[in-house]
């Protein structure tokens, strides 16, 4: 059986709106599904493991198009994760936020774009540089 696409129903919102309760006052047979009710899938829960350390950012430009990060995509950033070689990180470099793949080798840090039109950046002591957070997911409109 093909399982190329699997469908889920997302959780709509946390609205406290009135709930229509249709499973029986006293008459009739109760719904057999009642005992098996589960909470709906929540994208918040799927995409965010550490709420306190998670922030969002929007992509501007196409320097990371090869990694699937396109203009206007939404990034989920977890600040609590440790920067490691090959992770995609949001960095603050010389007055600007940037998203690139981290390359760490022999005590050198490089920011690797995923687009042949952009150069790889070597971080030196002259740079004003901070690794702000690690990208864990990309959300895009299609």
């Amino acid at each position: 059986m093909s399982k190329a696409l699997q469908f889920f129903t997302p959780k709509a919102s946390n609205s406290n709106g009135a709930i229509f309760i249709d499973t029986g006052i006293s008459a009739g047979f109760p719904s057999p599904a009642d005992d098996f009710r589960e909470t709906r899938i929540s994208l918040d829960e799927e995409l965010i493991t550490n709420k306190e350390a998670t922030f969002f950012a929007k992509v501007n430009g196409q320097s990371m198009i090869g990694a699937g990060l396109d203009d206007n995509d939404l990034l989920v950033i977890d600040r609590s994760l440790e920067p490691e070689n090959n992770k995609i990180a949001v960095c603050f470099l010389d007055g600007e936020f940037t998203v690139k793949r981290l390359k760490v080798r022999d005590n050198e840090v490089w920011l690797q774009p995923e687009n042949p039109n952009y150069p790889i950046i070597k971080i030196t002591e002259e740079n004003d540089f901070v690794i702000w957070g690690i990208v864990t997911s990309v959300i895009k409109k299609v």
Binding site: S15, E52, A53, N60, G95, T98, V99
Partner: protein, 418 residues
């Protein structure tokens, strides 16, 4: 043991997380309506920009010293504060959120812990996860935590941002270092009286006799003295809900007509009522305040307040605004240019367990109406539904000319990365 975790220059630090180019540069944050300076970074403090400086007088000073002046972004500070406080709960279940940027932690049964090490882990995690720098003071009592925290803040290199008072020797040394005016809860009046008595430091204060302190001051100061002696007396207060809620603002212009004032008071009262319902409280009492512009020395000055007590606790926007408007009418004087007004609701009780009063209670019809209003305002946008006496021609936007984006609470305001 207790700890006090205090965020360094919290408002400026929040701005720096999302605008790291402000790092190491002087930053000042303005009050609501861009009135005066309410928070400063260390760099701005070192330039001697005073707390409370009215910005219109200090504009050229700020320009000259390249101070980055920003409007206060409370949605951002509130969210960052909530993150910090939540992280603190990882370290102990007993957390007292003391203010937007500080919390007391109590460590029960942590006897074997190395608190210096633990404090460093707390600091490091908050900094890494949120970007907010903190200082941690650890001691056997809350008042001593305050002292320890000041030491950690004052000597970052020596302490690494964490200071533990765990011996009597350290306690005495710390108290001798602490000027009486810097002791937690010692206000200016108390300071004068204590200095007259020869108390220059916190240590001198602990050398007074218990009797003298109790006769000349109050139980509060006596408790403070015990706490400073290292005997835990001031307990952790886990706040379930706020004890009073205030909405006070300066107006962008001055107003001398009752219609505009009535509108402002209605809006403030409605905002208080909404906050009450949000924390599931009702109030017994409201205080309405009105005052003229203190900075205009040549204009006639008037400020007054009026307290209204309800016969039963209420959280209804209708009842609270009605009472507030009636109250402001009684204190309003013609010919005065008013600049500031406020509504405070107090005497709060949980809404679900009002004392039963057989004959007096809030009109039960208000409840479903209020929850419908709250639901619509939350779902669509703030103030979708409001009373007809609020916002006459919507001339009332808060003055926030230098506001940073709401980076964590509005999707269109999140940071962009290249």
């Amino acid at each position: 043991m207790y700890a006090l975790v205090d965020c360094n220059n919290f408002y400026a630090s929040c701005e720096r997380v999302f605008n790291p180019s402000l790092q190491n540069k002087p930053v000042a944050i303005l009050s609501n309506n861009d009135g005066c300076v309410i928070a400063r970074s260390d760099e701005a403090k070192n330039l001697n920009l005073p707390m409370g400086a009215p910005i219109f007088k200090w504009e050229s000073f700020c320009k000259h010293h390249k101070i980055n002046v920003l409007s206060s972004n409370y949605p951002l500070y509130g969210d960052m504060s909530a993150r910090v406080m939540k992280i603190l709960e990882h370290f102990t279940p007993d957390v007292e959120v003391y203010s937007i940027d500080e919390a007391f932690l109590e460590f029960k049964g942590f006897d074997e812990y190395d608190f210096n090490e633990y404090g460093k882990i707390i600091r490091k995690r908050i900094l890494k996860w949120t970007g907010i720098p903190t200082c941690v003071g650890v001691a056997p009592t809350k008042a001593l935590c305050k002292v320890a925290n000041k030491i950690a803040r004052k000597f970052p290199k020596e302490t690494g941002g964490v200071y533990v008072i765990d011996t009597d020797e350290k306690r005495i040394k710390a108290l001798k270092w602490t000027a009486i005016k810097n002791v937690w809860g010692i206000g200016r009046r108390l300071q004068k009286r204590l200095e007259a008595k020869g108390c220059k430091t916190a240590f001198d204060f602990t050398q007074l006799t218990d009797d003298w302190v109790r006769t000349n001051f109050s139980i509060t100061e006596w408790k403070l003295k015990k706490d400073l002696e290292g005997i835990p007396t001031i307990a952790l207060e886990i706040k379930e809900a706020k004890r009073s809620i205030a909405t006070t603002r300066s107006f962008e212009y001055t107003y001398s007509d009752i219609e505009n004032i009535k509108e402002r008071i209605s809006t403030f009262a409605a905002s208080c009522a909404e906050k009450l319902r949000d924390q599931n409280s009702s109030c017994h009492m409201i205080i309405v305040m009105l005052s003229s512009d203190r900075h205009k020395k040549d204009a006639e000055q008037h400020s007054a307040s009026k307290t209204v007590i309800f016969p039963y606790p209420t959280d209804s926007t209708l009842s609270i605004t009605k009472a507030a408007v009636e109250a402001v009418k009684t204190i309003f004087k013609t010919e005065i240019k008013y600049k500031r007004a406020g509504v405070i609701v107090t005497g709060l009780v949980p809404t679900d367990n009002h004392q039963l009063n057989l004959f007096l209670h809030e009109n039960p019809k208000h409840r479903p109406l209020m929850s419908a209003i709250d639901r619509l305002n939350k779902k669509y946008k703030t103030d979708t539904i409001k009373l007809a006496n609020q916002d006459l021609q919507r001339t009332w936007k808060m003055k926030q000319e230098r506001l940073s984006p709401k980076y964590t609470t509005k999707i269109n305001d999140i940071i962009t990365v290249k």
